[in-house]
Symmetry: C2
Subunit: 360 residues, 2 copies
């Protein structure tokens, strides 16, 4: 960890230098963990090439000192951002970068009042996120483990499906198995959607019972050693009718096409388009109502986005989901999702398990 | 639900009128759920006395139409806040309020570009939070259920404690029981801290095993029907030595004093001071390193804060936690926490179960 953190800091300082920034303020927990190892829920990290200072409250100072290694821990007396402003002012920095996507308007207001007249707060969007997008070997190793655990939990979730069972029961069992497997939490609220409810891409589990001949969408992810996984499979509770088989085949081919398209140097929008093209050939593209995927790492949704209009190029070390779907209101939905690591020469699919339609 | 939502809107419009605001932009999920019933994870709600408009993406539009009842659902084409700006511009409003504590700097930047020159975005901090602080009868009924479920889960968590068990196993069982009891998720990452780790107020569960004669802090909460609960109990794995008994007695008396002090019309800082005064009489106040409590509702930490310097008065309908503690680095910690509803004439303790030191 220590070596990785050093490399990350070096990469950050290089970016700061290029942007003529004296320091960077990280206010997103994933960003500060990435740069310092601090796992607490409240605080802010100020990083410059000379010093790292974490400001946090009394609940987290002992933990911060243990986790940070080098670097200073400042225990705030009053409000967090007044204390951060005090640190900036004491350092006498003139240009401090921050991420406008994670700093609130109120926080910026406090900083402007407390950081001193000489200090300009400069928008520097996505600086740490860009670094986080390129996973190093130790991060990839951890993401592999998280993906394998999610795949195992998916398998046991599928085995629990039988007519009469409730969505909420399946969700409870799934999240229990995540925990038993060492996960610290679900990466997002587990989706267990039966029948018509499978047409809602983000259905919350309810007390609805599974009936014969319904579609089931299971979408789950686990946080293991701080890193997220995300997998979706679709099941039919019975022998699937022709229409459902065709939908599933279309989604499966769309996913294969997108995975094949995903390569270092390829634009994210091209991966999205590959999935959409296949669905269009089945006349199902109007039922694919979300983007093809998203970056995955310390957060479950991070850069890069695999969507229309995303001109950004995939890079070695990116980990993304590929998850096309088809949703028909009143009938149900189908989605297949895997986690894919972009490597120098090709890709590695981190998640496991058949992508064929599973019939109960 | 419909009647409550109407009352809430009426109260909001009264506040808007007083602040000369034409409309209010709610960007916090708890705020928009409170005003509209929409449970999706992405979107923004624009409320005026003439109209309610929810802007969200294609994953959530079907769900939004089903949940919102009256009110318009706009499906964003591009970025969320460009679409919101478009709505504001089309309405021709001149003053639109927003919460600077939940809007990011980047979001405000997009709104300023897209809402049109005639539209001023006006900081209106905590408007919906203030309404949310005064729970109505239906909310209190739901919070009672959430608190009782948390208390039951606590009881079964305590029963599982025995030497050799791991923190993570207990956390897994606890969260499983929340789900089986109908909860949608833990209200926060469950805290299971054995021995020295109990000295960290926000310890994450690890694979550490419980040994004889260690302190155990269990702090858990569940979201049930959208409302949060939060309870803490302290256990000693064996017969507690005199020192631990005295610490526990001090914390228990501090909690009782704070609960007795909590009344409509009393300043939040006075409730905090009541707990601190008792701990000072035991010379333990320097070991109480956090505030006495926080508001509880759709979010696990909301207004009012029960802390030093909080001059705000408690009101009928507030639900707060009272959770003094004592933390001794290298030894362990003690915390006792219950959820308390402020009523017209007195208080109601929503959580259950003995507050005495539990010895295994």
């Amino acid at each position: 960890m220590r070596t990785q953190v050093k490399n990350r800091k070096r990469a950050l300082f290089e970016l700061l230098r290029k942007s003529c920034l004296d320091a960077y303020l990280a206010t997103n927990p994933a960003d500060w963990f990435y740069l310092s190892g601090f796992t607490g829920e409240a605080g802010a990290l100020v990083a410059s090439s000379e010093s790292m200072t974490l400001v946090t409250d009394s609940r987290f100072t002992a933990q911060a000192r243990a986790e940070m290694g080098e670097g200073r821990v400042v225990q705030q007396k009053g409000a967090l951002f007044s204390a951060v402003g005090g640190v900036l002012s004491a350092k006498g920095w003139r240009r401090v970068g921050y991420d406008p996507n994670s700093l609130t308007v109120a926080q910026l207001g406090v900083l402007r009042k407390t950081a001193g007249r000489g200090c300009s707060m400069v928008q520097a969007p996505g600086v740490v996120q860009a670094l986080r997008g390129r996973k190093d070997a130790s991060e990839l190793a951890q993401m592999r483990k998280a993906a394998i655990l999610a795949s195992e939990v998916m398998e046991s979730g599928i085995r629990m499906l039988k007519p009469g069972v409730r969505e909420l029961e399946i969700a409870a069992e799934i999240e229990y198995r995540m925990r038993k497997g060492g996960g610290s939490a679900p990466a997002f609220e587990t989706i267990v959607a039966f029948g018509e409810r499978a047409a809602l891409p983000h259905a919350r589990p309810t007390s609805k019972r599974l009936r014969k001949n319904e579609l089931v969408v299971l979408d789950l992810g686990v946080i293991l050693g701080h890193y997220c996984s995300d997998i979706t499979r679709t099941v039919f509770a019975g022998r699937a009718p022709r229409r459902v088989r065709e939908w599933h085949r279309a989604v499966q081919e769309a996913q294969e096409a997108a995975i094949s398209a995903a390569r270092a140097g390829v634009a994210c929008e091209a991966v999205d388009a590959a999935a959409r093209r296949v669905l269009a050939s089945y006349k199902l593209d109007q039922f694919f109502i979300h983007s093809t995927g998203h970056g995955l790492g310390l957060e479950v949704h991070e850069e890069p986005r695999i969507a229309k209009g995303q001109k950004r190029l995939l890079e070695e070390g990116n980990v993304i989901t590929i998850e096309p779907g088809v949703y028909v209101e009143g009938v149900g939905g189908i989605r297949i999702e895997d986690d894919v690591a972009i490597q120098r020469n090709g890709t590695e699919i981190l998640t496991r398990g058949t992508r064929n339609l599973i019939e109960l």
